[in-house]
Symmetry: C2
Subunit: 107 residues, 2 copies
């Protein structure tokens, strides 16, 4: 049996089943990322309060190696894991700079 999507194409049952699982994983990931950004906001405040630089290349290199190793073990392309981490860290550094700027403005 198959359902129609909004464009009138038949969507196979199997595709609907896979999409439901993808949606569950996406919900989990987005909630974990929400927690992650709560922690990095704390990091940002801590760094700004002590005038530590927003980025930390030594820490980032370690994170990249770790994520690539997990990816390889889990059957994900290490290059994608690295791109993903770069994507998240770019957002974090954007937040850290904003926190540092607003703390500097309050001084």
């Amino acid at each position: 049996m198959a359902h129609d999507d909004d464009t009138g194409h038949a969507v196979p049952e199997e595709l609907l089943r896979l999409r439901a699982s993808i949606d569950n994983l996406d919900a989990a990931v987005i909630h974990l990322l929400a927690e992650r950004f709560k922690l990095t906001r704390e990091v940002g405040r801590l760094k700004a309060g002590r005038d530590l630089p927003p980025s930390d290349p030594v820490r980032e290199t370690r994170q990249i190696d770790r994520m690539r190793a997990f990816a390889a073990e889990a059957g994900l392309e290490p290059a994608f894991a690295e791109k993903f981490l770069a994507f998240v860290i770019a957002e974090v550094i954007r937040h850290h700079k904003a926190i540092a700027d607003s703390q500097a403005a309050e001084r």
Copy 2:
């Protein structure tokens, strides 16, 4: 008490504690993304086998709305959730096209 990092800067205990939790969340996220890409590879094979297009704008619009709503509830910027989904979907479509091309080449 504080530890030194590789560059000789003192790293506050609090920062080490936050980083340990960030690392745990990153491990969880990368493993969930590995499962997500297993499912989308199945989707790619299924779509290629039935000559369904690699991308599905109606489905994507629904996914974006859902991720933005989760983000807003969870205290994450909805714009970031949307960017994140776009980042993941771009990778998925790259995979789908590769699968479709290799199946077409086998015919």
